[in-house]
Symmetry: C2
Subunit: 339 residues, 2 copies
DNA sequence: GCCCATAGTGTTAACGCTCACATCGGGTGT
DNA sequence: ACACCCGATGTGAGCGTTAACACTATGGGC
């Protein structure tokens, strides 16, 4: 994809601006980089020349000599999902605020190979740092194989790898959700879990068990989901058949949506008969039937913290940081006091 | 964010590889660019040297001399929403397949200024082409102000601007949805529209009117939404109060979700008393109560076509293309034959 | 009246790569 | 045996920028 059309006058470079302004190219460079030591009147002449020629600095030349690309890379898994999409957005905003461009490499399967490929693609572009959103053990492990010397931060990758990371405290969030249900008078809480091999699934399950144990409540067997509404629906059909089930904590909102439908079909009313809590707070949550109580994560903050960690990493301040953000419970209408 | 740590041995460049392999830097370059005319044995020696030194070609230097950055830019509005997120994903995949890197510039408000800023940010990175996802008139108009000479394609931007674009045939999709409802025996179809100033909202409304007119059905006044579930809910409360309403076409799935809840609260059963159709086919659609009949768009195809258009644009084949993809109706359980 | 600091500007040399061209052997045709 | 071609490699220049340093006025301190 070369410049449109073939023989247009090649675009202006620094020397052209210099000639037009009657100065040396170095003075142009100084104006461009906000050096002091340029007479205001000269600066104005240069700026005018730039405007006239529609001058656009050549980023490649600049990068070549400064050795700084001002670009960050993001590796992300299926950026269509709400979680990853929100994180990408948060990171992009934070990166821009910090003066970086953002380059993206998305992968459609979470494997060691795909992750490493994506990282290499980013390295070819000489990014100055990489944020990897690869929320699965097998993929997160791949991060350990990334050569040192390139700043790398994992997001939502659990403690599987030694890579610095920022994430949400899933265990705490899940425990809060479960405690909320327990405090409502339920004797125990059932759980529809995420798939094995996903740190977030494991941590949420752990938080659920923890809260159950600390309340001395019996621990029912968790049902396995795969994050999809379908899996939530299927698990829900089984749960709906069991009249002793009065409270369910779902590892994410999509599964909660499926559960809600299964309960509805089985004629079990929410929240009168069964209380439901999700995790993520997707935009649809407040409009489910009934509006879903769920655990909310601050994705904007995740983005900002990733940036911060990346910078600290580069300056060598904190070699192996781990940042954990505490999510908050959004109580809506899918949970109600039993008494 | 400089390379981590300060005094590490600067990374290997082409000359280092050449020296180690006992050839000239030019031969290394030839190996790198898959030129023929390199003896297999020499090539092997060079590759081995690269491996040994962990050589990474300097993209800035290459870009400087070839004048090709191999990078495409995407301007997108709130990439958290399902539509934009899916398009970004589709475009990224297609771009990668075509050998391009992808740089992202997201904006949080759709205005002339924000769009132009984002495009400039991308220009600074000397991208070879830009795909703009700015589905609002005021933002799309800004695209006309972009200097020629840079390949630009709009996605989902309607016919507001003269910029080449690819999009979904919203009018056709809406007409299909409305006809489906009419064919079910409904005397007319109500409409919850998207906000004014959005091409997609306008086109979907037009398709709805068109189908109504062609069937000779009366045209009820459309209700105004803003794409959010909340607005769908509010419009839904009004619709639910009117017993004559038996069929509703929503301009997107999120509003349909809100509508579904409003109908449910008012005790109006879907699909027995009221049929509902949405637009987008978000992943949650099959698990709403009841599973939502909706219009599905092929975002992967949108991505591929954008790429294709960008390439044609650069080679000058087709100065002002417009590509329209036909969406398909997904019939589920929220619509049912009246008779 | 001289010196030296300093503001303002110019000159030159990289940065790491690709392109165009030069070179150097050994076949091949006549 | 000579010219010629072609495969395989090397040499030198140049892409557009910034960094380092050099230079020229101007002005204040003594």
């Amino acid at each position: 994809m070369a410049r449109a059309r073939s023989s247009q006058p090649r675009s202006a470079v620094m020397t052209d601006v210099a000639r037009l302004a009657g100065v040396s190219h170095q003075t142009v460079s100084r104006v461009l980089n906000d050096h002091t030591k340029v007479r205001p009147e000269t600066r104005e002449r240069v700026l005018e020349a730039m405007r006239q020629l529609d001058y656009q600095p050549n980023s490649a030349a600049r990068t070549l000599v400064t050795k700084r690309s001002n670009t960050l890379g993001i590796v992300t898994f299926d950026s269509t999902l709400f979680g990853p999409a929100s994180m990408v957005y948060g990171i992009e905003q934070a990166a821009r605020a910090a003066g970086y461009f953002v380059s993206i490499a998305s992968i459609n399967a979470l494997g060691r190979r795909t992750v490493l490929d994506a990282i290499n693609r980013l390295r070819e572009q000489s990014v100055e740092g990489i944020v990897a959103i690869v929320p699965k053990d097998s993929a997160a492990e791949a991060l350990d194989a990334v050569p040192a010397g390139i700043s790398l931060v994992g997001v939502g990758i659990g403690h599987t790898s030694g890579v610095p990371m920022v994430g949400v405290d899933n265990t705490a969030g899940a425990a809060t959700a479960t405690r909320h249900l327990l405090a409502l008078g339920h004797t125990t809480v059932h759980h529809i879990a995420g798939p094995a091999g996903w740190p977030e699934a494991r941590e949420r399950r752990a938080g659920w068990r923890e809260a159950l144990a600390e309340a001395g409540a019996p621990e029912p067997e968790a049902l396995d989901g795969d994050w999809s509404s379908r899996s939530g629906y299927e698990a829900g059909r089984r749960l709906a058949a069991d009249r002793s089930v009065t409270a369910v904590f779902c590892a994410n909102d999509h599964m909660a949506l499926g559960l809600l439908r299964a309960l509805h079909e089985a004629g079990r009313r929410v929240p009168e008969e069964v209380s439901v809590v999700g995790f993520d707070d997707i935009p649809e949550a407040p409009f489910m039937i009934p509006p879903l109580t769920t655990v909310q994560q601050d994705f904007g903050e995740v983005g900002r913290r990733s940036m911060q960690l990346l910078v600290e990493l580069a300056t060598g301040d904190r070699p192996h940081g781990q940042i954990l953000l505490t999510p908050t419970l959004q109580v809506r209408d899918s949970t109600r006091d039993l008494r």
